[in-house]
């Protein structure tokens, strides 16, 4: 148990705890935003949205076998993508909507902040793991090469897909950080479920 008492282990546990709280709050806010989004965009809450290009899927196979580093890297890539997607949604909202939907815009902006903060938090954890932080793609002022302009309805559906997937990621991130917070051997291999008490 000596490793568990080391300053870096304590810091890691602390970062994981804070990250878990951040992700938990983020999830609660996404769920609330989803309800408002569906209502204000006139969508059917039960509508199936096909996987949208560019939206990172939370679904993962053999989740329990992932290493701590894998978890962090996948989370970081996802939240960076969500940061760009939410920024795009926010811009679209501002173009489309009038004052009536200003609340939705504010909620999106607040969520974008949380996503950015969480991405930064993940970078901190990666630094602690002594892993290099992958660079982000070079961005032009307007973001990555813009996809073909979607119709208003397609934008709404994509927005639904983004928020749904973000809600899943928020739950996954909480689980990932809990795995990370467990005392583990120096090889940073995450314990599988079979090893749990």
């Amino acid at each position: 148990m000596a490793a568990a008492d080391s300053p870096s282990a304590a810091l890691r546990r602390d970062l994981c705890s804070r990250g878990i709280r951040l992700a938990g709050k983020m999830r609660a806010d996404v769920v609330d935003l989803l309800d408002a989004y569906v209502e204000q965009q006139g969508l059917d809450a039960s509508a199936s949205v096909a996987a949208v290009e560019g939206v990172p899927l939370a679904a993962v196979e053999r989740w329990d076998e992932q290493t701590g580093t894998q978890r962090l890297l996948e989370n970081l890539a996802a939240y960076r993508a969500f940061r760009a997607l939410l920024a795009q949604m926010l811009e679209e909202q501002r173009e489309q909507l009038g004052e009536a939907e200003a609340g939705l815009g504010r909620a999106l902006a607040a969520l974008l902040l949380q996503v950015s903060a969480f991405a930064y938090h993940l970078e901190e954890l990666l630094r602690l793991e002594n892993r290099g932080i992958p660079g982000e793609e070079e961005e032009e002022e307007d973001g990555p090469p813009p996809p073909p302009r979607l119709s208003l309805f397609e934008q709404k559906l994509r927005g639904l897909g983004v928020l749904r997937e973000l809600a899943q990621w928020a739950v996954r991130s909480v689980r990932d950080l809990r795995q990370l917070a467990k005392p583990s051997p120096a090889t940073a291999a995450a314990p599988g479920l079979a090893e749990s008490p």
């Binding site: 899927l57 939370a58 679904a59 196979e61 899943q168 909480v174 795995q179 479920l193 749990s196």
Partner: protein
């Protein structure tokens, strides 16, 4: 040749005696008992509006030789109604199970077939040996937004039916109730009860997938429950119990982040610690006591002996009227 014949309740059934001609002389029996000729049309046996009690073995014998010409098992039943299907994950994130039953019996054998689709992928639901009407699936993916679609088809000789359930991964997560719930009084604390429990043994990884708990308690004499939600730990001290009252206590569990609450645990009973009852005295009693020379009522040293005439009850339960009134007033104060 022996056959099995399935017929619906209320149907009219005609049985032929194998290859015998219509006008052949035959005898029909049902479970070994001769059937009256009034049920025959030539050599055909006619059963109108059959009911469940008419299930059994029917045999046809040639009249003169008494050779068995035909035999059949008649099974009267009904086609299946829409089955009831339920899916649940009580061992998240390992997998989930589905179980089913028919709302009403059919009285004949039924066959169940279950299919599980996740997106475009067919999944195999492994049937459990016990109970028979259950199968389980291991999750191949976690955190998927793609819904699962489970279709259960039930077929018997008289018809078929089916039902479909569609759900997402998180919605069906429902742990089993907490186990080993124990409630104990706290010494020298008349308003406290200490409650402890354990995670359900079916929940595979409480460290990575912690549960939160809901505790409810009430005194037996009241209908209103008190509730406490606990985000961690497997124990809680109730601090507002009514002194001396027996309590009923239950606990439920839920994954910290997803799904629904478990059913309530088995109920436990406990009564808070109470002080040894002291016998209350008044000046009048002290006066009576000091003037009495003998008493057959044995009392502890702190107890003042009542005048025999003022005693209600007998033996160890004897109390003075006045003492009884004071005790009654004291008890009402604590309800």
């Amino acid at each position: 040749d022996s056959h099995i014949q399935y017929e619906r309740v209320g149907a009219d059934v005609t049985m032929k005696c194998g290859s015998m001609d219509w006008d052949a002389a035959v005898t029909w029996t049902a479970n070994g008992t001769d059937i009256d000729e009034s049920h025959l049309n030539g050599s055909y046996l006619i059963l109108k509006n059959v009911d469940l009690s008419q299930s059994g073995q029917y045999s046809c014998y040639e009249g003169s030789s008494w050779h068995l010409k035909y035999q059949t098992q008649l099974r009267v039943g009904t086609p299946p109604k829409e089955p009831v299907l339920m899916c649940r994950s009580n061992n998240y994130p390992k997998g989930f199970y589905c179980s089913w039953h028919l709302p009403t019996p059919t009285y004949i054998p039924n066959y169940f077939n279950i299919s599980v689709i996740h997106g475009t992928k067919d999944m195999v639901c492994e049937k459990d040996a016990i109970p028979k009407n259950r199968c389980h699936i291991k999750y191949l993916q976690l955190f998927s937004t793609v819904k699962y679609k489970v279709t259960l088809t039930v077929t018997n000789a008289l018809g078929k039916n089916f039902t479909t359930l569609t759900f997402d991964e998180f919605a069906i997560v429902k742990p089993d109730p907490p186990e080993s719930v124990v409630a104990k009084p706290v010494p020298n604390n008349p308003r406290r009860l200490e409650v402890s429990w354990q995670n359900p043994s079916s929940w595979p990884d409480p460290e990575s997938f912690p549960l939160k708990f809901f505790l409810r308690y009430r005194p037996l004499i009241l209908d209103q429950w008190q509730h406490v939600e606990l985000s961690d730990g497997t124990s809680h001290t109730i601090t507002d119990a009514y002194a001396g009252k027996e309590y009923i206590i239950q606990v439920a569990a839920k994954d910290n982040d997803i799904g629904t609450w478990s059913d309530w645990s088995v109920a436990v009973h406990a009564t808070p610690w109470t002080e040894e009852p002291k016998h209350l005295t008044t000046e009048a009693q002290i006066t009576e006591t000091t003037s009495a020379s003998t008493s057959s009522f044995m009392a502890p040293p702190t107890t003042k002996i009542c005048d025999k005439g003022a005693v209600v009850g007998s033996g160890a339960m004897a109390v003075c009227w006045t003492a009884g009134l004071v005790v009654a007033a004291y008890s009402i104060l604590f309800i």
